[in-house]
Subunit: 208 residues, 2 copies
DNA sequence: GTCTATACAGCGATAGAC
DNA sequence: GTCTATCGCTGTATAGAC
């Protein structure tokens, strides 16, 4: 059955979610999937290879339902609100730390790093498209590149997820601060010509 | 000798740096420290307890030399520059992922989470003091709380470190984007009264 | 394709010699 | 305080029955 492959992938995600990267092994994954331990090696050859495929599959499944919602976002503030929604849903579902665990495990494993990077880019690319659309015509677009900004936002989001894992209240206050700070970008947009002139002057000075 | 304790703590950091949290055990730590494996249990009782103490000790040693430099920072832009310096030095020394590895391991271990949180707060508290000083009198201070902002910045920094581990070029472009975006905060400060009025109006509308 | 059985290495932790 | 030796357990991975 091709069903066993899927059960192992699901089991891998479930295990990494509930026991972290340190508690994930062929035995614990197989137990979660309800199949025999040897099947991990029959179907995937090794544990890291199973994790690699599970990382991509899981992220794809997570990103998909958010793509449509990102297209409907009309401002940076709304994007941040969607981010908080995403954050809340993922946390409730217990998925928050999955990608973060992969990220940590990937630091010492080049192959897992490549897979994690690819998975992250599913988020980053969507974010980049949204930022491009939102920032078109804004003075902010003139002083930053959206590819870099998208990576910053995605990385910061991951950092916040991890931080909340060790300090839930601190993570909450960080998100609140970001939310209030988002007003700032709206003000920039509203000021329009004045801000634009000031920004350009500033840029000339700082890059000279 | 009390020296063995220190060697084990150093060995723990070295191991977690070079082999990640998944490759860290009493045996690998003892090998790095050049002492017998049983001494881990004699001196610390368990591996997690050694990691807990190593996490705090290592962070303290890292934070100390930066405290004076943070006091000399005069603007948000300079603070960001110091952040990039810190980033570069840590990366060159190979320390970048150490705290991140603790953070990931802590997601599934409450005791390690408490220690990691305490270690992170060594950074956060220093950051908070600096932000308080820099933002005094700025309109930005009116629409955000520095405690939350300090946590956001620290969390984002960690996220960037982890991200750079799986995608070095992407991490670089993210840092570049941040750098260019820092000009924005200076513009806000420069606009002074005008921006302040706009921000207040905006705040009234958005919180109503 | 799935199972049992088994190999061998590495793990945390303890006992006891020195 | 440090070492050797050892326990029992869990890890990856393979061989072979079904």
């Amino acid at each position: 059955m091709a069903d066993t492959r899927q059960r192992l992938i699901d089991g891998a995600i479930e295990t990494i979610r509930e026991r972290g990267i340190t508690g994930t092994s062929a035995r614990t994954i197989a137990a979660a999937a309800g199949v025999n331990q040897a099947l991990v090696f029959y179907h995937f050859g090794s544990v890291p290879e199973l994790l690699r495929q599970a990382c991509l599959a899981a992220t794809e499944a997570r990103v998909a339902p958010f793509l449509a919602r990102m297209d409907q976002v009309g401002s940076l503030r709304e994007l941040l609100a969607l981010g908080r929604e995403l954050h809340a849903e993922e946390r409730a579902a217990g998925n928050v730390t999955v990608l973060a665990q992969f990220l940590a495990g990937a630091q010492a494993d080049p192959e897992l790093a490549a897979a994690t990077s690819a998975a992250l880019h599913l988020w980053i690319d969507a974010l980049e498209r949204t930022l491009d659309r939102l920032l078109a015509g804004s003075p902010v677009a003139e002083l930053t590149d959206t590819p870099g900004l998208a990576r910053t936002v995605a990385a910061a989001f991951i950092g916040l997820e991890l931080f909340e894992g060790v300090d839930p209240e601190g993570g909450q206050s960080a998100l609140d601060a970001l939310d209030r700070l988002a007003v700032l970008t709206e003000v920039i947009d509203d000021l329009g010509p004045i801000a634009l002139r000031a920004l350009r002057a500033k840029l000339r000075r700082s890059t000279a």
